[in-house]
Subunit: 140 residues, 2 copies
């Protein structure tokens, strides 16, 4: 069943494996709502009231700016968000979550939470916490 592969010894591989599993599972959950994982993250950031520029938002949701632009295009045409030019700097763009978007994010958050709970159940809260902390340290 499980082979012994040389790549398995790499931390980069372990990370990729774990990420793929979790992301895939979360992605499947959100597909029921026709929502991409990254779109959910955008909604969460907006719903929390963070008024970010596209650039900062891209960083926050782990995307490259051109990719975010295209995702936002889709979200606009789906009626989830709309764009507004920032008054302080007309090059900047801010996003506003629509009422539909606000409704959606509530439902979707449940699914995302379930996904995280699954990890918590698998590892136990202590190891899950430790994982969270070590990953945080890694990305600093």
């Amino acid at each position: 069943m499980s082979h012994s592969l040389p790549v398995q010894s790499y931390l980069s591989y372990s990370l990729a494996t774990a990420h793929r599993k979790v992301h895939g599972s979360l992605s499947k959950r959100l597909k029921e709502f026709n929502v991409q994982v990254e779109a959910w993250r955008v909604m969460e950031v907006l719903e929390a009231g963070n008024n970010l520029t596209m650039g900062d938002l891209a960083e926050a949701v782990l995307m490259n700016p051109p990719t975010l632009t295209k995702l936002v295009d889709r979200m606009v045409s789906d009626g989830i968000v709309h764009r507004r030019m920032a008054s302080i700097d007309q090059r900047q763009v801010n996003l506003i979550l629509t009422e539909l978007g606000k409704k959606r994010v509530q439902q979707i958050r449940e699914q995302a939470q379930l996904e995280d709970d699954a990890i918590l159940n698998k590892l136990g809260s202590e190891k899950a916490d430790l994982l969270h902390r070590i990953l945080g340290e890694l990305v600093q």
Copy 2:
């Protein structure tokens, strides 16, 4: 500088962040050799002598089968591998690493090792080891 974002509390987000950072950095290193991270993994698996089917290989290198097929097409045209029909089952395909491929994987492995070493230096061997173990448990 660093905002407090609601998504940050999700383990799925921490994993995505860490993976993005490490994968991006590794990808940049391998770009010097015109090699994709996944292509390197394919080479490692082959070089270790594992004679897998395309399906099993896809799983091992964390790709979907159609994506692997296309990657292998490129690797074939780059002279890194070639395909061979399996004798036991003519539907199956095995890959053979060419001499060029064998040469390449040696050089590339150094870079990949450097990337892992960077993580090790950042976390210390104890935490790095712990991370490896927890991730392993998560994907079981």
